[in-house]
Symmetry: C2
Subunit: 327 residues, 2 copies
Amino acid sequence: MKNAAPTMKDVAQEAGVALGTVSKVFNGIPVGESYKAKVEEAARKLGYQVNQYARGLKTNKTNTVAVILPGVNHPFFAALAQYICEALARRDYRMLLYVTASNPEIEQNCVNMVRQNKADGIIGLTYNPLAVDEDLPFVGIDRSFRPDIPCVAADNYGGGRLAAEKLLELGCRRLAFLRTGSSSPGETDKRGDGFEAVCRARQVPCAVLRRNDGEDGDEVFREFFRAHMAGGRLEIDGIFCSTDLLAWRMQNILAELGLRAPEDVQIIGFDGIRRFGGETLYCSTIVQPIAKMAETCVDLLLAKDRSNIPALVCLPVSYAAGGTTRE
Amino acid sequence: MKNAAPTMKDVAQEAGVALGTVSKVFNGIPVGESYKAKVEEAARKLGYQVNQYARGLKTNKTNTVAVILPGVNHPFFAALAQYICEALARRDYRMLLYVTASNPEIEQNCVNMVRQNKADGIIGLTYNPLAVDEDLPFVGIDRSFRPDIPCVAADNYGGGRLAAEKLLELGCRRLAFLRTGSSSPGETDKRGDGFEAVCRARQVPCAVLRRNDGEDGDEVFREFFRAHMAGGRLEIDGIFCSTDLLAWRMQNILAELGLRAPEDVQIIGFDGIRRFGGETLYCSTIVQPIAKMAETCVDLLLAKDRSNIPALVCLPVSYAAGGTTRE
DNA sequence: CCCTCCTTGTGAAAAGTTTCATATACAAAG
DNA sequence: CTTTGTATATGAAACTTTTCACAAGGAGGG
């Protein structure tokens, strides 16, 4: 006969002590040395493990955090998921992962599921306004859809500025900003704003092309580059792309036109994604501090005192040369 | 005052019915139309959601599956995680994700955590023999550490054969197999076994270099290639690498030696990882059916009748040209 | 019109914890 | 030797659900 998992009652019986005493031992509440020893011995003997479901039911605390991401099949999200998972594990929390494909219905559905599953909080990289309980701690990544929800983000505006300054420092005189991403005005726009601000201040010409996810076919960009060609040469000599992925796509499109980075045009991306081998970057880029973002999300979410959590934590970015600039 | 989440009792009261009736409604147990309507109305009004922790405590079924992976920051694992997550969501299951960095202690610790958290089963890509409850469904990916634990894997041996046949078909006459990975004899070895078997059968020379994770510095491979150089040319004209990642590293090392794929040597990798943009492969490769593997894992784990689960499900692989072969 | 049978809703018990009011034991003080 | 006080173990209640034995009420047959 297959025995059911042992319970505290079994342990109490085995150790010859009361139920409450066993509970205390497993919650680190002081208890007489001899009692503690007896309980631990009995627990070890029976192979007892706390039943988190019973505990969660009683305490309304589950030591579980729900993480909602568009997907995990993209290096930025994957790194984020991994760091968050590790940060949670270090604090003895578990991670319940939901992927949404940025679909508003799925996003909302995930939030509802979380309520059922009594997670202690949510870390979410979501693109749509969601109905979420007032009293369920929520930390947004990159964006917040409600003023009382704190948000952890890289300094996108500063990163845009940095990209512009870097390109100018590297000798560029005619810049461009290319953007794709979610149609909702978001962080990628701020990158462009910072970039353009520097261009304006330095009175450098800056061509801009902002596209949304649905409407960002290669042809749009090909057309853009053709429009800026003169005599077989690209007038633009420095490009800032809103993501590394976009920068990579642009390199391919430019290659079709017979143009290469960094020889013909210098390119800076954004994210700091590395090739899966580990070391090399896809392009010169503005690096998001992903590990720090993950750590910060977890810290904010699990903060003891949540009364004065900052609305926005903006983490510093840095520049890294990755072969598409002439260093 | 902040109200606690509404319970079935609240719903029962609001609807003017008994507790058991509410329970039946939420479990799809037939109940009089008028009663059902009253309960649903009340639940909607109060915003009631089932408390999975209470349900789990009572039924000992949590609709949660633990997924244990070395990490999620590698495209193969990331894809696996994502597909598994989606497959589980489709079946109304949740995913508890644990990452282990292949560390034996962390792996064992995860399994223990799962027991506490009462997951209904585990899908694990682990490298070490673990102590896991007999009665906790477990499905291994790529390897099984106990005969009664089923395993879902790509046809690694067949993939190795396919790689050899493909290289020969493409005109190669002197082959090599390069392997890195976990030191425990595993799936990557079978790839080599299949490859070598074809070489033997066709009486084609095949150089072999098998290294483990700790001892696979670039220098080892550089040395290997130098040893097979004659008069500035590489004698080997077809290489099979145990992973796409390794194939990528080899390309870089070969480039240092002034050799390029596919001009100087043709290379086939294994995994079928794509660049994060979505389309392009890192190299010509044997493609693992990741989506199918994920789906199969979930199916096996959640099978109603687990009495005659196959010990090994071996899924077919395919070849895809990715620029490092002369098609 | 009454009795029986069947259907269907009812509410108490149980699942494994935590918590808190109570009981016990022992030491110190009178 | 009794009393008071303190420290600490005890066990019943509560958390929210599911389940099951039971009650209630309606239908159909005699």
